[in-house]
Symmetry: C2
DNA sequence: CAAAATTGCGTAAGCACTTACGTAATATGA
DNA sequence: TCATATTACGTAAGTGCTTACGCAATTTTG
């Protein structure tokens, strides 16, 4: 047999090794279930077991308890219901929910396969002991580590180290990032309006050519954030479409973008710098406030561009920022 | 958040946890690759790396080195070739083989993503250290344990313990096992002939109703082996279609079946007990020899039933088994 | 108290592998 | 030496999850 490169690659192929091990184990367990003749699949076990101790219970609840996604449970439940192992009925007090419980057949099947899962428990335990480590303990620790700090974030930080965030103005090559960053950011939170779509698709025409600017934040080669400064009327600039890619949140990139946008607007002779934002974007709201923006009543033209719930803000002029002496 | 039952189930859901961890890690790594902008997928890495150090090299060889199946490599190679990262040509000395190697673009891409896999190595290492165990060591030990003794076998043994092997005669309920056991056993080794198919499909008509017998080996509830005794002509029995399910090999079940078949034939007045077998089935051959069967020249009728390469054997009569005094 | 957001669930499609199977080229063996 | 294995490889389909998305029912909110 050849050298197993995966092994040699060590940490690099760690995920593959875990997957292989998992596949091997579940394959073998399935085989045993299969020739135990019970019309029961190994992967149903966690659901069955849960229903055995707590029922009736809804699909999403099961998913949470097991750490699966709800479609997984939905699929397993469908299969089990077809075999007559579980039964379901709608929750009277909440018609969306489907409450699952074991049927008599389900209970007896569960009892019938009890020896199998007893064997699985013992053999897995034996295997784990043979590893010579406290493997379950280690596994739990790793899961916890990842929960605290996901792999993506770790990798990101490490790849970023050495490269500083820099803010650069619009270029043709950067243009496409404006749309993708905004979609990534806004997509799941707010449905885009037609107006938004048009601007995102062609920011050059909608913003740059009308005397505005688009700034980008980059770390090394990757573009991680963007902000638009739109010239509404001479001397009046609106800061809009600010977005920072998910994995770089909380590193002050938003603040740096906002500051750069303000600076650019002032240098372009801004008498008024405005922002319109959704009340949902709490973090952004807090950021703007901390930078000196205050809520205001929009003029009708501006008001008309946005939905009812929008929050409108303007920036107080620079002289009163550090000093609170008023007129 | 609800109690994570998977955790609570401990060893029982061990495989699921491994899978989840693996999925999480590879998902995150893929994301990073994706926004590193290189047209490169994380899962190609092992193949690329291998080609980087050793090329050209065939698909199957790669699969063996990585511990994947060859279709996996075939698919990855197809994708990489489409992106122009690798190139392939047929092996002149063996036109079946396709030799793969990195293109210039492939090499430069590999160099370009070097920082990413360096980060992956470091972060994974960090994660593993955070587990507080020698996780890689434990993983290797577990892989080795499983290689020595696969999970299926462990489970089987444990489920069998307490139940003895018993040999039982044909019943209608057992009938279907005759076909499935023989298919499991013979399928991958010998292509079935029409003759075989007919007998397997309806053993009752082909064997029992013609004065033969079919015996089954059971352990507890499961049927793990079978053998047929066919009445060829009065006083002449052929032992055939002996099969033991894969995971119970090497436990003397074959021998017990063969012995039971011989006993049954003798009690039914056998003057001649015969076996026809393929030279491929070394283990069976050795078994028959050890039980006293010796090679013989078949009579024409018997000869005609089998392929050219078949080995024909008969059993010497019982009286000369333990004592070698000759007439 | 409506409009809007959220929630519970199902279906479809994707993912990264696997098994199953077929074909052509090479090796084997009476 | 020629039929019979075996091997290298590809394609198709399966597996057991996931993400993406959509529809109702319920809850929240201005």
């Amino acid at each position: 047999m050849k050298t197993d490169l995966i092994r040699e690659l060590g940490p690099l192929a760690f995920a593959s090794r875990l997957r292989r091990l998992s596949d091997q184990l579940s394959h073998d367990v399935s085989m045993i279930y299969r020739d135990f003749e019970a019309d029961f699949e190994a992967r149903w076990f966690p659901v069955a077991r849960l229903l055995g101790r707590q029922s009736p219970i809804g699909v999403t609840e099961i998913a949470e308890s097991l750490g699966y996604t709800h479609p997984a449970v939905s699929q397993i439940a469908a299969a089990m219901e077809k075999r007559g192992l579980i039964r379901s009925r709608r929750d009277r007090t909440d018609e969306r929910r489907r409450l699952l419980s074991l049927t008599a057949k389900g209970k007896s099947t569960l009892a019938q396969i009890a020896p199998v899962w007893e064997a699985v428990r013992e053999c897995t335990g034996e295997l784990i002991r043979e590893s010579g480590q406290d493997f379950l303990q280690g596994l739990a620790a790793m899961e916890e580590s990842l929960r605290r700090r996901p792999m993506a974030e770790r990798l990101q930080t490490r790849l970023d180290s050495g490269s500083e965030v820099e803010i650069v103005p619009f270029t043709r090559t950067l243009e496409r990032h404006f749309e993708s960053l905004n979609r990534e950011w806004l997509g799941p939170i707010l449905p885009l309006e037609d107006n938004d779509r048009r601007i995102l698709r062609n920011p050059s025409a909608g913003i740059i050519q009308r005397g505005g600017q688009i700034l980008f934040a980059r770390i090394g080669e990757s573009v991680v954030g963007t902000v638009a400064i739109i010239l509404q009327r001479p001397g009046i600039f609106e800061i809009a479409k600010m977005a920072v890619t998910t994995r770089r949140r909380g590193k002050g990139i938003g603040r740096r973008l906002a500051q750069a946008a303000i600076d650019w607007a002032r240098q372009s002779g801004a008498a008024d710098i405005r922002i319109a934002t959704s009340p949902k974007l709490k973090a952004a709201l807090a950021l703007y406030q901390s930078m000196g923006f205050t809520r205001t009543t929009p003029d009708p033209a501006w008001r008309a561009e946005y939905q009812r719930r929008t929050i409108f803000m303007t920036l107080a002029p620079p002289r009163i920022q550090s000093d609170s002496t008023e007129g």
